[in-house]
Every structure is written in structure tokens, then in C-alpha cells.
């Protein structure tokens, strides 16, 4: 019941942000053209979106199984992380103020979702659809590789070691219904908040000519999301660094395989159909 409330708030706030983002960053003529070409563009991007959706669904279906499996074979690296980086996160929290907590909690929950959804719309509005394909493949790579890491590594965040305060959950306790519904508290290495944000930031750099305002907005929100993961005591610095590495790898994967995937999915059904016809 609480979860539904939190979700509705999330949808409402993010929708509002998307509208504002669209008005701010995408020009009218582009939007009109997108509306005209919406169908062919969507058909073109469908395979990539399908891959992303598959990864997300698999991710949520296997989360519990992956978790059990992880306890069986994984490495508990919580203390190793703590020993390497020490009290960085508690130090960061010494700068905490109420205003910062409100800001970073907002960014962590709403800003993050906006940051991930907006570029999908923005790149759909570009006449060249390649970036959109690359981005969706990169998202899928982030989730896929992230899940693999979560199976191999068990790590609790600084707030669970009780060396850092859990600022967001103290300030907005309902949010824990959402975060505990979409993830498990041992999945902190690497930080997917960081890796997905950094992915968006890298793509925003690539498209800075087409979307100069989005480029600036993405850097500000992305950097804030990354800081918020640590400020709120949820992630270690090492999770963030690993998240940036993961983002870089995912962008490369997106750029390298976007075409292959599109070709495969456009050719494969036809080939398959031909073979089936051939056989009967």
C-alpha cells in the first residue's frame, strides 16, 4: 500500500520533470517531425528496447534466486572495501545539512529516474536513431554485468555497517519500501545508480551538439546522483569507482554491438521464416 503511494509519487514527479525537460531541451520542429515519423522509428528501435526489457524482467525474476546463489558461492567483500577506503563516506557525511539531505534524496529517487528516461525520449527525437540504439544496448549491458557482479560479490553498504547514517531513510522512510522492492541490500558493488548515470553523462557528451542544454543538465544531475549514493550512506566510494568503470565498458558495448544487434534481429526472423518454409 505504501509502495503504491511511493510509486504514484514517483510517476507524477518524473512525468512533470520529463515535460519540463522536453520543453527546455528539445525544439518544437524536432518534436513535430518525431510525431510524424513515430511509427517507423519505434519499429526500428523495438529490438533494442526488447533486449533491455528482457534483461530487466530477467533481473527482477531471478533476483531472489540470484541472491541465494550468491550467498552460496559469492565473496563477502564488505570488510575488504571498508579496509581499503576507510572512513570516506562518514567523512562526506560530516558536511550533511538538512537541505542537502532533501536535495540528494530527491535526486537519488526522482532525479535518477528522470535522468534515465529522458534521453530515451530525446534520442527518439533525433533524425539519426543510432544513439538511441547504442544507449538501450548500453543500459542492458549495465544491468546484465551489474547482476553478474552481484552474484559474485556480496557487499553491504556503509549504512548497513553502521559506520554511516542512512540519511534518506531517516528523512523519508517510505522510500525504503521502493528501494527494498527493487533491490537487495547486499547488492552495492558496483553502484548501478552510478554506472547508469555515468552512461547517460557520456552519451550526453556525445550529443552535446544536438542537445547542448541536456548536456549541461545531465552533467549536473548525473554528478549529483553519483554523490548522493555516497552522501546518503548507501554506497562506498569503491562501488562508485566500479560503477564508472562499468559505465565505460557498457558504452563501448553499446557502440560496438548496436548495429550487430539490429542486424541480427532484422535478419534472423526472416532467415528463420525462410528456413521454416523451406523445411515444410
Amino acid at each position: 500500500m505504501v509502495l503504491v503511494g511511493v510509486l504514484l509519487t514517483l510517476v507524477a514527479v518524473v512525468s512533470l520533470m520529463l515535460v519540463c525537460g522536453t520543453l527546455l531541451c528539445i525544439d518544437r520542429e524536432q518534436l513535430r517531425q518525431t510525431r510524424r515519423e513515430l511509427r517507423p522509428r519505434l519499429i526500428l528501435v523495438a529490438p533494442s528496447i526488447a533486449l533491455l526489457a528482457t534483461v530487466l524482467i530477467l533481473n527482477s525474476l531471478t533476483r531472489r534466486a540470484a541472491q541465494s546463489f550468491s550467498w552460496l558461492i559469492g565473496f563477502n567483500i564488505t570488510n575488504d572495501i571498508y579496509r581499503v577506503e576507510g572512513d570516506f563516506v562518514p567523512w562526506l557525511q560530516t558536511f550533511a545539512t538538512h537541505e542537502l539531505t532533501v536535495y540528494f534524496s530527491f535526486i537519488y529517487l526522482f532525479g535518477y529516474v528522470f535522468l534515465l528516461v529522458f534521453p530515451l525520449l530525446a534520442y527518439l527525437a533525433l533524425s539519426d536513431q543510432r544513439t538511441l540504439h547504442e544507449l538501450t544496448i548500453a543500459y542492458a549491458a549495465n544491468y546484465g554485468l551489474g547482476l553478474l557482479c552481484y552474484v559474485i560479490f556480496i557487499a553491504y553498504g556503509p549504512r548497513n555497517m553502521d559506520i554511516a547514517a542512512q540519511l534518506m531513510y531517516d528523512f523519508y522512510p517510505q522510500s525504503q519500501f521502493l528501494t527494498s522492492a527493487v533491490n537487495v541490500n547486499t547488492n552495492v558493488f558496483p553502484s548501478l545508480h552510478t554506472s547508469l548515470s555515468a552512461t547517460v553523462m557520456i552519451f550526453a557528451w556525445h550529443t552535446r551538439e544536438q542537445y547542448p542544454r541536456w548536456f549541461l543538465l545531465a552533467q549536473v544531475i548525473g554528478a549529483s546522483v553519483i554523490v548522493s549514493t555516497m552522501y546518503l550512506g548507501i554506497h562506498w566510494l569503491i562501488d562508485v569507482i566500479a560503477g564508472i568503470v562499468l559505465a565505460y565498458a557498457s558504452v563501448l558495448i553499446g557502440q560496438r554491438y548496436a548495429d550487430d544487434w539490429r542486424e541480427l534481429t532484422s535478419v534472423a526472423p526472416a532467415t528463420l521464416a525462410r528456413q521454416v518454409r523451406h523445411r515444410f
Binding site: T78, N79, P173
Partner: protein
Amino acid sequence: MTGRTDRTSRRALLTGAAALAGSTAGCFDRLRVSVDRNPPEQVSLTIKVVPRDEDRAPIRIAQHLTENLERAGAAVDIEPTTEEQLLRDVLINFDYQLYIGRHPGHDDPDYLYTLLGSRFGEEPGWQNPFGYSSAAADDLLERQRTVDGDERVERFTDLQNATLVEAPISIVAYPDEPRAVRTDRFGGWTSPSLEYPLGYLSLEYEEIEDDDRDEGVLYIGLNDRRPTRNLNPFAVEFRDRGVITGLLYDPLGRRIGGSVEPWLAEGWEWGGTEERPRATIRLREELSWHDDEPITAEDVAFTYEFIADTTMEPQEDPVVPSPRFRTQSTLVDSIDVVDDRELDVHFTAARESIAERAFTVPIVPRHVWEEQTEMTSFAGFDIDHVTEALVWENAEPVGSGPFRYADATADESLTFERNDEHFLQTADSLSGAVAGYAERPVYEGIHFDFVPSDASALDLLEGGQLDATAYGLAPEELPAASRASDLAVENEPTSSHYHIGFNTRNAPLSNPQFRYAIARLVDREHVYESVFERYATPAYSPIAASQYVSEEFQWDPEGVGEHELSFVGREDGEVGVVDAERARELFRDAGYRYSEDNELLVQQ
């Protein structure tokens, strides 16, 4: 001439060779003597605890102990792990060095019989997970069962003296369970509280206007996901006190107001000798399981044989007792079924007052559980010596209790409904203490909801989506709970304790002196004030919550620093911070050495 020269030179050569050989041997001896010694290394310890999300107290005690151990020169790691995994590591696989955990509590100090008894060191469960062995303790544990009154007090005094200083377990505190409860729909939250199944039975229900929840349903917040996935009363890593399964499964007798009173049993008559009693038990009329099968004396006999050996083949190896109810199963020697409703229980050496603890075991249906006696073939731990009975989720339990299972969503919720066939509802007249529970519960059912944190539980309570929490709230949430209208905080002490457990199977923790030194690094006053914010009773004794505790082992806030087991001393009077020099002295007294940099050393 040549020959002489030859001879001389040969002799010289031989002499030289011999000398060389001799000196080489000396050199190698020296090399061997000095190099073939393993250098001592810094003591390295790992403390296992549950993360803050599951319980805040243990990790804070662990942080405190770690700081003081590091001041004493040891290297310490804290390894957070889920409650389920912790119990599996500690109670089943013995895969730990130290842990800080919570014992589920006890009704009688006889629980030490298995917690500290040497012969239980190889068994899973809260059966000596420490691998501790002491002939003196074993003898006292055996003897306390056959005496009562002052004599039993004496046995326990001796036991505490014999074991506390070298014990593998160092008690830190008995936490209070401050529950936040709503008072608009339900009343009667105290005596007994939700700490016991009877607490759920004694609640009063009152309809309110504009109730947007299901009428007559009690909404309870859980901070533990395990009951939504597993309702097996014998699975030790999924149960704490077993309150929730205690609502589904009835025992022969329940503890009401301190003594064991007939429950499924109509009554019992004692026979046999004073030291080896026998009880003739008669079941109530027309009892039935939740699937409408009748409850017979055969089910009862089955249950006791089953908890003693879940393979149901006691003549054959392996014997796999249930890791829960182990002290109770050691009390029962044999059972004779007389007829459908009557049976004779023969006890091992124990007084009646101790033997009757065996009646509190949940009785399970034979027709369900006899399917679970095979060895299991797949699980998260060793499978050679585990029966299906111990790993089975029992997702749709068939019990006999006042509530029956209705529904569950893994990791989210669990729903029970009132069992209208229960004897409390159907019996024409009840006598004795059980009469106080006639026609109870008065409400329709219970809905348990997992809540991810105490703060969100409080939020739900205030919003009227929950009526109470099944567990005590963290102290930092209590001020807000007491301020909220419609909410009350019901606080009560428990028999459950937080403790440091030592795995005595390996050095250096096999050394009682070493364990003793560690136990003395805990500043209980600091823990009391800052971890529990005074919602706890600091303690030294595992039976501090009973009348058998020795006075000298009682917590005495005035006597800080003068106790045989108390904190070794503060640095410059700073609360919680150990005096490093005195801490090192403790380990030196125990025979350990230090490096130049004050590292506590141990020979590897």
C-alpha cells in the same frame, strides 16, 4: 717421497673435507634452528553479525568490541551477513571465529543443558555451537535436573562459577522489547505480550467506524522476511522464539503464568519415581488438525520420536535430532500409546518440574511429517546428515493451533485465519488456567506485513495500516512513537540475550584465558547507554533472567570495574574506550606476547 707426499696430501685432503663437512653441518644446523621457526603473527579475528537493516544492536556492539580489540593489538574484521546465513554459519556449519548474536530466549535455565553440554558440540542448532567441553559443567548440568529448590540454586551457582570465566559465551545484555501498538482497534496488549503466542490470543477487538482495513483482522508489522518463506517449526535458521509457528502448532501444555498448563492435553498424572518420573497424558476430546484429520495419541508419540531422530530410525545411523526443542527431546525416554487419547511418557532423570518442559514442544501431524524423514539431497549446507524435515519450507502448514495458515507472499506478507474448529472455540467448558482463553481469539485473523525499517513501521502504525509490530522497535524510534496519538509503547524485559559467541574449536579462541580477555573488553555500561539507550538489562550470566542467577554475576551499575568479569578499565575515564595498557596486560597474563608496535602476537 712421492708416496709420502701423496699420503700426506691425501690425509690433509681428508681432514679438510671432514672439517668442511663438519662446519657445513654446523652452519645448516644453525640455519635450521634459526630459520625453521614460524614467525609469530598478529592475531586476526573476524566477527560475524547481521547488518543494520536486520538489527542495529549487534553491529554496534561489534564496532565497540572491534575498537577495543584493536586497542589491545588484534586485527579485527566485521563480516555482516543475513540472520539466516549467520545462524547457518554458527549453528549448523560452525564456520565462524566470533559472532555477536541474539539467543532466542528460554523458559527455564535448563536450556543450558544443551547450550553448554559437551556431548552436544557436534549437533546443529542452539546446542553448544561453541564446541565447548568441560567435565565439571557436564556433571552440574546433569545434576541440576534431579534436584529442586535450594539444591538446584546451588548447582546453578556452582555452574556459573565453573563456566562464566572460561565460558565460550559472553553475555552482553538482555534487551527490552518496546513494541509500538495502536489502541483504537485492539486492546489488551500486555501480559502476556506478543512475545508469546498467548499474547495474540488475549487481545480484545473493538469495531471502529470508517475502518478501511478488513474487519476483525489484526495487522502486524514484521522486521523479518523469513516467516513469509518458511514455516517449518524445526528449521533452526528460520526460527527465533517460534512465536508465529506457535500460533499454528499447539503443544500438549503451554506455559501460562510461569507454570506449564494442559493445552492439547486435558491433563496429566504423574507416576514413576521422583528422579525418573512418568506422566500419563489424556488428550482433549475431538481434537482435529487443520485438514480435519483427528489428532490422536499416535501423533503425539510420533512427534517426540521425530524430534529425537527425524529419520524415525533410532536404531540406525545417522541419528538426526531436530535442532530445535533439543533440551526437551533429551528429557523424554520413551512413550507408550495406551489408546487414541491416552499415552504414557517415560522421562529421563529429571524432576517433574523440569520434565514438564517437554510438554511445550509443538505437536505435528504424523500423516504430514512422516513423508519428510528421508535424507535430503539438495540444500545450502551439508546434505549427508540432514533429513528433509529440517530443510522443508512447510509452506502450507497443517497444524492444530488457534490460527490456521491462509496465504503468504514470499518476502512480503503472511495471513492466518482463526481456526473455528479449535477446542478453545468449541469446548463446552474448560477448566484450569486454559479457561482464561475460552473462545479466543475474539477476532478473525492476522495479517503480517514485512516492513523494511522501524521508521517505516512507525509510519504505518501512525497511518493506521498496522496495529502493532511483532518485535521491539529500535530505541531511537521510541520518542516519536510515544508522541504519536493513538500509539502506545509497551515495553517489557525478555529472556533473550545478546552475546558474544566464541568458536572454541581453533586457536587462539580455544584458550579460555584468551576468551576471558576478550570478554573483559566490553564496556557494558557504554553498550547499555549508547547502543540500547537503556532499553536493556546488561548482564554477565546466561541465566540472569531467572531466579537462579548468582548475585555476584548480576549487573550492578555501582560496582563497575570491580567485577571478575567486568570491563577491564577506561582510558582516562572515557566511556567505552579501553585502557590499552590494561588490555594488553590481560593478554600478557594469558601468556600472549606483543611486538614492538604493540601488535598482539600468536604463533601460527
